[in-house]
Amino acid sequence: MGRHRSNAEPAEHATPWSFLRTLRALRALFVVWLVVGPVRAGATVLLPADLGELSADARAIVRGRVVAVEARWIDDRRGIDTIVTLDVESYLKGALGSTLQFRVPGGELGRFRSIVVGAPEFAVDDRVLVFLGARGPSVPYVLGLSQGVFRIARAADNSGWVVTPPAVFPSAAAARIVRGDPSRRPMALADFEQRVRTLAGGGR
């Protein structure tokens, strides 16, 4: 079979109308099946959160740069987690000092590396915004495994800093989250932080 062409826009000029109608019907069936089809399997690892829940639950919301990533033995040296040290640029909620440590499951120690599926990974010089939980005097942890981590990167046009991945903000009304929605884009860091501060109740 040869190579096939595709496009985000229908290529009416290249394809018979009858086929296009059929294909459009199939596409519609495709979407309908996913939304209302009988198959509703799931129930997996994570409970999903929106940014409102993360903001409310967080003990601290902090922007900073990773300056150290150090794995350590836990569970009587039968498991590994990683302590991430952040040089704090700003707190959006709470305050835990100018240098902050939090932990993530898994990590690498010498010849050992432990991977926990779905856990975020950090490297020195990463610039991140993290939503942290804490229980008692223990080291804080990232809320929702990877859901509480937003990466800060240069915009594609180099116009400034943006936050990725596209965030899920709370909605007053029920609303499907549609992949490919043009509005779902990395958000300017300043705009993102303004919204998070509002969701967190004006914490600084």
């Binding site: 079979m1 190579r3 096939h4 062409r5 595709s6 496009n7 985000a8 826009e9 394809t15 296009l20 294909l23 069936l29 495709f30 996913l34 939304v35 089809g37 198959v39 509703r40 399997a41 799931g42 129930a43 997996t44 690892v45 994570l46 409970l47 999903p48 959160a49 929106d50 409102g52 033995w73 039968r78 498991g79 499951p105 898994g106 010498g110 010849r111 050992f112 432990s114 991977i115 926990v116 599926v117 779905g118 975020p120 942890y141 809320l143 495994l145 990877s146 990466r151 991945p165 596209p166 899920v168 709370p170 909605s171 029920a174 499907r176 989250i177 992949r179 490919g180 043009p182 779902r184």
Partner: protein, 343 residues
């Protein structure tokens, strides 16, 4: 620096022939088309068990409210049986007894059990791996279920409790070498919160509402994945594949989600573009016609799929291949080129 006790532990590990080093290639997607990609011995290999039955043990060191060790063993046994019953896959499992060890403790045994991990916020269960770095062989895989949550083992499920068998089915998919699948979608709830509204796979990484038992049934995407990793003898001669690459303005797109939808069977199987050429490959497909859709993974949770999320391209619109692609029996579709446009 490793401590002496760590070194002693390293020697102990080596003594039973295990290289306790887990590796998933950094800066590479952690999950290569439903499968874990492992960088081992200088090459990329698929993470899979080389010997079956896969032996597992159940921890009796920790329990959750309302679930006895026997209940737990039965529920995970049913989940193992579901994977083992896939007719096109050759994998099998064997219960090896109870243990006082906890899951997550690297001891050469694949251990399933509860642990109380309240700091694992919003994490119902999780799987970890031990891999031989030299060969890529999967040596140990543990699954912990978070007893900070309420669990159910009843046949019909229980309101407000997560179905242990459903969650076990997902985690055993990981244990067997499958990564997450993105065949699912979520919605924002009125007044706050987010929930899953549909999924075409057990391996979707986000949970349905507590009480659901729908996750006890494998879907075509799961079956294609497990069959592709552990094919029965005639599977590759009867199934087909669909492959190609995704570009935008002639540049390859990394991390695009590519879905193959069979309008005859209403089945969906999906994969991602996973290299710098923007290439994808979807194996284990039933022969027949497919509609192909390409979409960005821009609805959060990208780190459930990719270990280097900054490399994933979100900036494009949904695209369809403008013809039906026919996947032949025992063969490939030919290269399917998909051009997407920026948002």
């Amino acid at each position: 620096m490793m401590s002496l006790s760590c070194l002693r532990r390293a020697r102990k590990a080596a003594a039973f022939g295990v290289t306790l080093a887990l590796t998933l290639a950094p800066a590479q997607p952690a999950f290569a088309y439903l499968k874990f990609g492992v960088r081992a011995g200088g090459r990329q290999v698929t993470l899979r068990w080389t010997q079956t039955p896969v032996r597992y043990v159940v921890s009796d060191a920790s329990v959750a409210s309302g679930v006895t060790v026997s209940d737990f063993q039965s529920a995970v046994g049913r989940a193992f049986a579901t994977w083992q019953a896939v007719p096109t896959a050759s994998i099998s499992y064997q219960f090896g007894g109870l243990t006082g060890a906890l899951p997550g403790q690297e001891d050469g045994s694949s251990t399933l059990g509860f642990r109380n991990r309240p700091e694992m916020d919003r994490v119902l269960a999780s799987t970890s791996f031990v891999v031989d770095m030299a060969t890529g062989a999967l040596l140990e895989s543990d699954i912990f279920f978070n007893s900070a949550f309420a669990w159910s083992v009843t046949p019909a499920g229980e309101t407000g409790r997560f179905d242990l068998e459903s969650i076990a089915l997902h985690e055993i998919g990981h244990l067997s070498g499958l990564g997450h699948s993105a065949l699912g979608e979520t919605e924002l709830r009125e007044g706050g919160g987010r929930r899953v509204i549909a999924s075409g796979t057990v391996m979707f990484p986000i949970a349905f509402t507590a009480g659901s038992i729908a996750g006890r049934t494998l879907q075509p995407d799961d079956i294609a994945g497990i069959s592709d990793v552990y094919p029965e003898s005639d599977f590759n001669a009867t199934a087909g594949s669909l492959s190609g690459h995704v570009t935008s303005d002639a540049q390859p797109v990394f991390g695009a989600h590519v879905i193959a939808f069979n309008p005859n069977t209403l089945s969906m199987v999906a994969a991602f573009t996973l290299n710098t050429q923007g290439e994808f490959s979807i194996g284990g497909l039933s022969p027949g016609p497919y509609v192909v859709r390409v979409e960005p993974l821009d609805d959060a949770d990208v780190e459930s799929f990719f270990s280097a999320p900054e490399t994933v391209d979100f900036d494009f619109k949904v695209a369809f291949v403008d013809r039906v692609i026919v996947v032949p029996r025992g063969g490939g579709s030919g290269s399917v080129d998909v051009k997407v446009v920026r948002k």
